[in-house]
Amino acid sequence: MVYLATFHWGWLLASLLLGLAMGWIAVVHRGQGVSKVTSRWLAVLMAALVAIALARILPGRPGYWLDLGLVMFALYLAGCTAGSWLRDRVLAGHAPAA
């Protein structure tokens, strides 16, 4: 993992920033969210993919691509979390003043 991080730091940083931006937007986004059922299915799918990656079932290049995708996705989620939380804090800071 450390090796992946050092070798792909550029791509991982991009994912993180993308997540940060998306998280920032999501707080004030008015569009349709993913339904609870769908998000549950998505969570199951992600868990299955993580399980496949950890079990090293997928061989060769697809296995590598899966690892890379999951790491990028994890950082994206981390970026989203941080972005949403920051935006929420910023909004909360303004609200009492308003």
């Binding site: 997540g19 931006a21 998306m22 999501a26 969210g33 590598y64 890379l68 994206y76």
Partner: protein, 465 residues
Amino acid sequence: MHGLFRWSSKWWPGVVPLVVLWALAAWTSTAPLESDLAARSAAALKDTVLDKSRITLAGRDVTFAADAFSEDGRRSAVASVDAVPGVRLVNDETRLVPEAKPFVWSAERDVARVTLSGSSPLPASKGKLLEAARAGLGGVEVVDQMNLSRGAPARFDNAALLLLDQIVKLKDGKITLSDTKVSLSGMARDLGGREAIAAALKNLPEGFSVAANEIKAPPYIFQAYKDPVAVTLTLTGYVPDNNVHAALVAAAGRKFFSEKVVDNLKASVGAPSGFANAVVPALGALSRLSTGTLVVSDREVKLSGDAFYDAAPAQIRAGLIKDFPQGWQLKADISVKPAAAPVDATVCQQLLSELLARGTIRFESGLSTLDPDSAGLLDHLIETALRCPTVNIEVAGHTDADGQDGFNQALSEQRARVVTDYLVKAGLPASRFTAVGYGSTQPIASNETNEGKAQNRRIEFVVRE
């Protein structure tokens, strides 16, 4: 926390550019990642001794194929590839180098090259052997057909290096090491090479032994050429030592009374047994030829040339076979020289006197037995006597003044008769020769000195018409 769930339902639009990013990352990074991991894996194996090592990458999975020289080495090689950071899986396709049983290594030399083949235990040993072969053989081409195998006997390298030193001493041949048994065949480069190899094999490392040593020595050659035009006897080839050398040259000097002896002999070991005992009579036989060549090759004696008269070839052949030590063979190709033109009595006397001035008919001391060294001179005298068929010849025996007159008289008569008999045996009519003994009554030099006495002990041929 609740907010986080709410917001997260709206994070999905970012997944679309993320997927694009992911595709780009996979597209651009796969090949560099694979080559980076291949380089790291190869670096991790740098100090491990392996043969046919091959590393292929698919994503982060390494397919590692190699021939290892021990089970431990194989396992540790796989472990060190597995420990390379970034490697996800190792597909272990390693195996042990096949075990050779028996473990056979050989070095073969022919005219143009030396071929090393069979099994070698480790790449380092193989390199060492090749290097040693190239260094030892100078410009000779060294061909490597060695495989790597397990199962080499202990101290294999030392034994093989010692054997490589021996291949240098061969003209052609093969040295094979099968487990701890050494077999050698072929021909040594020089005289003495066979002995040198046998001596070196005593230094084989402990546990190794010689199963078969069939190295042959090159033929031991001795040659003598009698040239009637240059009046020389040329000796070439080998003699066992300086004593034999001196003895042979001295014998040649006695037997070839008029020829100059050109001595090109070299001393060398490896002479067949009975060398001197065979070569001395063979030189005697050569002295009875007007022109001829003597080639002694190991224990085979080839004598060819022209004898002086018809009865001589058979006499020479029979005499040689009788004199040869056991195991020696004679190949005689002796013809008879065409008879020279007849001469009259005066010339006949002159020719006979000239011959007897150059050489003396010798007898054993105090006896009337002809010295074999005088055979050549006698044959020349017979040839001359055959050229004057009409004249009668008196064979006169003389002695020095030592001893009693009666004894000397009898000895001189006996010696003259022995010479006459010899002439008759050669085919000359007995009626033409009279044997006369003069004892010490007709000295030609002083009887006070040894030289003078030697001159007085003589046989003279006097033409009587």
